[in-house]
């Protein structure tokens, strides 16, 4: 047995080096705080590294830049800061009563203690109930992106995409770019959920988009060999006699995300159920601080949205965490105001309706609880 592992202390621990965590670490580091940024992957960027498309949003926040390039640019800025340490292939295991965070790294369990913690752990993909959904070849959209855009391995020859939200549409486009035939994109809702420019873009490639359809069954014994899809009625029940057999060797599920917030549950951050934000999400204020003092959240871990808002939330969490610790953030009031107004603008249009409704519920619940 090894002896007791020493607890390593620092000002801010940022858990997760995706868009939110990267920006939190950058802003906290710029203020001079000692920051530890950890991620379980061997690279920074989280899901950004799999995004081959140009980002939407404001030109001033990386719009027009491809996702994987955004990850590189922010990481390069962080690497210039001597007071920020990035620890990769480091998985946060648990958060304890005494504020100790245990981390698995290179087969060893390390212990860290931060004066403030930013939880930017992202999300996990939702699953869908249908017959044979456990067959190899039924993948989450993130898995398909990882396989083809990180490792350059084709997930299939011909694939069925389930879900026409932004992820389903974008990943379909990426599949065609990689040389995979997308048999169809099916969507249970009566309307396409993602941006319509994404839909038109895959449609021009000849990929059919079928709204009002769901997957009934995957076919195959060892692996996916096909799928049966069918129409659903307004009560979301399958319509008899509308079944269509599609020959594919993989089924990709892009049916939504939920916050990955086990560490927050452990830390006894009050969690609330808000479907518009993806399910259980932590209570938090406008400055991204949870009711457990000095535990901050940002990005999908705080509620499912998208990468541009995740970066802005990360910035907010970063500057607020360090200013609470007594570091002076240059021009703090203006910076904070600018981030808040940028977030408001991003969410102000018709496509931001759901997130606005979710955040309004969060505010109501917070005011009742705190």
């Amino acid at each position: 047995m090894e002896g007791e592992t020493q607890v390593i202390s620092c000002d801010v621990i940022v858990i997760g080096a995706g868009p939110a965590g990267l920006m939190a670490a950058l802003r906290a580091g710029e203020a001079g705080a000692g920051v530890l940024l950890i991620d379980r992957e061997p690279f920074t960027g989280g899901q950004l590294v799999k995004q081959t498309h140009r980002f939407f949003g404001s030109k001033h926040q990386y719009a027009g830049t491809r996702g994987f390039d955004i990850a590189v640019r922010i990481t390069e800025k962080i690497e210039c800061l001597k007071n920020v340490k990035i620890l990769l292939e480091a998985t946060a295991l648990g958060y304890y009563e005494d504020g100790v965070l245990t981390v698995l790294h290179e087969g060893r369990m390390l212990k860290f203690k931060g004066k403030a913690i930013v939880v930017a752990t992202g999300a996990h993909e939702r699953f869908l109930p249908f017959e044979n959904n456990d067959l190899p070849g039924v993948y989450g959209a993130g898995a398909v992106q990882t396989l083809m855009n990180v490792y350059g391995v084709l997930p299939a020859k011909r694939i069925l995409m389930v879900g026409a939200g932004n992820i389903g549409l974008i990943v379909s486009y990426q599949l065609v770019q990689a040389g995979v035939e997308v048999a169809a994109i099916i969507e249970a809702a009566p309307r396409i959920g993602g941006y319509l420019v994404h839909a038109s873009k895959v449609r021009r490639l000849g990929v059919p988009i079928m709204t009002g359809y769901t997957i009934k069954r995957a076919l195959g014994k060892e692996c996916v060999r096909g799928a049966i899809i069918c129409k659903i009625d307004e009560n979301w029940n399958p319509v008899e006699g509308t079944e269509i057999k599609i020959e594919v060797d993989a089924v990709c599920l892009a049916v939504g995300l939920s916050s990955l917030c086990e560490l927050l549950w452990q830390a006894e951050v009050p969690m609330v159920y808000i479907p518009e934000l993806g399910g259980h999400v932590p209570l938090r204020n406008e400055d991204m601080e949870t009711p457990v003092e000095r535990i901050y959240v940002a990005g999908d871990a705080a509620g499912i949205e998208e990468a541009t808002s995740a970066m802005l939330e990360g910035e907010l969490a970063g500057i607020n965490a360090v200013s609470k610790l007594g570091y002076s953030v240059e021009d703090y009031a203006n910076k904070r105001g600018k981030i808040l107004s940028d977030l408001k603008n991003l969410r102000s249009g018709p496509v931001g309706e759901k997130i606005r409704a979710g955040l309004a519920r969060l505010r109501t619940l917070r005011n009742g609880n705190l």
Partner: protein, 162 residues
């Protein structure tokens, strides 16, 4: 229906097209962006300020077609690949459709390609007259295809057949 299958209807398209009269005068942009989404790079890409300043980031781009000279700079700036330039004055029988393209293989200049409509269905043949892959375009090729004049508002993609 755009929000049912990703294909805009004639009515949806008409809202944002340049007039017939403007189309007859030479190259001009066609922005097929019909939904308010938070996105503004096209505004910043236009050096002639032909894309009007956005009231807010969710605004749909509005083009001053008199200012637009069809320079094509905005095409590769659009994350939605929704911007095209059309030139009905290209020749007696043909018009040019200039489009973003992010697939391999790229066609060769002079090559005949299958021209696809907004459903991805082949509607005619066309000839590639120009391919631009400048560094500032960041891997979005901009391809000019000569198509029969009457197809200029139909053709929005190509398939390389060679």
């Amino acid at each position: 229906m755009l929000d049912k299958d990703g294909v805009p209807t004639k009515e949806e398209l008409l809202k944002q097209l340049p007039s017939e009269e403007r189309l007859d005068r030479g190259p001009v942009v066609v922005i097929e962006c019909f939904q308010e989404i938070p996105c503004d790079p096209c505004y910043y890409s236009c050096r002639r300020r032909a894309i009007r300043e956005f009231a807010d980031i969710n605004s749909i781009p509005i083009v001053d077609f008199e200012r637009c000279n069809g320079c094509t700079l905005c095409i590769s700036s659009c994350p939605g690949l929704a911007i095209f330039v059309v030139d009905k004055t290209y020749s007696e029988e043909s018009a040019l459709v200039i489009m973003p393209y992010e697939l391999l293989p790229l066609p060769e200049e002079g090559e005949e390609v299958a021209c696809l409509d907004r459903r991805g269905e082949e509607v005619c043949k066309g000839r590639v007259v120009n391919i631009r892959t400048r560094k500032m375009q960041d891997k979005t090729a901009v391809i000019s295809v000569a198509v029969p004049k009457e197809m200029v508002m139909e053709v929005r993609n190509i398939r390389v057949t060679s």
